[in-house]
């Protein structure tokens, strides 16, 4: 149903009616801002990136071929915009070292960190992964763990997406190490 509305609006825009794009913006503003936020962990920056993404979507609309869902194409275009923005302006500051420093001086990190802090630490750690793993993990969890959709958005085969996710999770667990673990046993949990 949503995709039908999108296709109707796309046709309107391509016919010269800008009002059609307003519908697209209203339907997709929250998802695009939230996806950008997962990369930068900063609301203001996320909104700026989402604006840029919408402009790119508008410019590239004549190239949309409706071979896949509009949402996949929209996220794919946006992801490219976000990648460029991250390359241009750099990654957000990840307070991993600060927390690690505090933890090592006094007591183990799990006792220092609240649940919410620990969760934020995990999310920020994803951002500091190498780009392909960062993108795979971010898109996968953002799109409700749909592997096929993740592969479509990343424009890679499903097998590659699966491998990147596996490797990304492994790197993430290694990166987090004892900082985000609940118990020593949890550290040894298999992939």
């Amino acid at each position: 149903m949503e995709d039908d509305n999108d296709l109707i609006d796309v046709r309107r825009v391509l016919a010269g009616d800008l009002g059609g794009f307003e519908g697209i913006v209203h339907r997709w503003q929250a998802p695009l801002i939230n996806l950008a936020y997962r990369f930068v962990r900063d609301r203001g920056r996320a909104e700026e990136m989402a604006q840029e993404a919408f402009l790119q979507v508008f410019k590239q609309l004549p190239r949309f071929r409706a071979e896949s869902a509009f949402s996949s194409w929209l996220f794919s275009v946006s992801l490219n915009v976000y990648r460029s923005a991250l390359r241009r302006h750099g990654l957000p500051t990840v307070p991993l070292d600060v927390i690690a420093g505090a933890a090592s001086r006094d007591r183990p990190a799990p006792l220092v960190l609240e649940d919410s802090e620990r969760e934020e630490l995990v999310r920020r750690s994803v951002v500091s992964l190498p780009p392909k793993y960062r993108d795979a993990l971010t898109v996968f969890y953002f799109r409700e763990m749909d592997l096929a959709e993740t592969a479509r958005i990343l424009e890679i085969p499903e097998g590659t997406a699966k491998a990147w996710l596996h490797r990304g999770r492994k790197l993430l667990r290694r990166k987090l190490g004892s900082l985000a673990s609940d118990s020593p046993a949890a550290l040894e949990a298999p992939a």
């Binding site: 800008l18 794009f21 307003e22 913006v25 209203h26 503003q29 929250a30 801002i33 939230n34 936020y37 997962r38 609301r43 996320a46 909104e47 989402a50 604006q51 919408f54 402009l55 508008f58 410019k59 969760e119 995990v122 999310r123 994803v126 993990l137 969890y141 409700e144 763990m145 999770r169 993430l172 667990r173 987090l176 985000a180 673990s181 609940d182 949890a186 550290l187 949990a189 298999p190 992939a191």
Partner: protein, 111 residues
């Protein structure tokens, strides 16, 4: 960290709501992008200046040609002053032509 824990944390994130006016701002930018560029105005001033310069040159040349045709046709060519002037003009033209060719060749070679 157990895999389920990682999945839970990464999959569950409090969604952000767009700021009020976000959509309006995007649409404003979209409209700016979509608006056709204003036509480039014709450079009348430059055109008129160039036209005036060409007219002056044409008048001078015409006057020179008319003078030459009114006088004796071959005799002036034998006049040493005129011959020198003509030689100088031809040399200047050739020099200019060579300079232009050299400049074009130089810039072309650098591209």
């Amino acid at each position: 960290m157990i895999p389920d824990d990682l999945d839970r944390i990464l999959a569950s994130e409090e969604p952000l709501l767009p700021s009020s006016g976000f959509a309006a701002l995007v649409m404003e930018q979209v409209r700016e992008t979509a608006a056709p560029l204003p036509p480039i105005p014709f450079p009348w001033r430059r055109f008129l200046l160039a036209l005036a310069a060409v007219s002056v040159l044409a008048a001078i040349s015409g006057w020179g040609i008319a003078n030459a045709m009114l006088g004796r046709t071959l005799a002036p060519l034998q006049d040493s002053h005129l011959s020198r002037a003509l030689g100088g003009s031809i040399a200047s033209l050739l020099g200019t032509f060579l300079l232009v060719r050299l400049t074009l060749g130089f810039t072309g070679a650098r591209r």
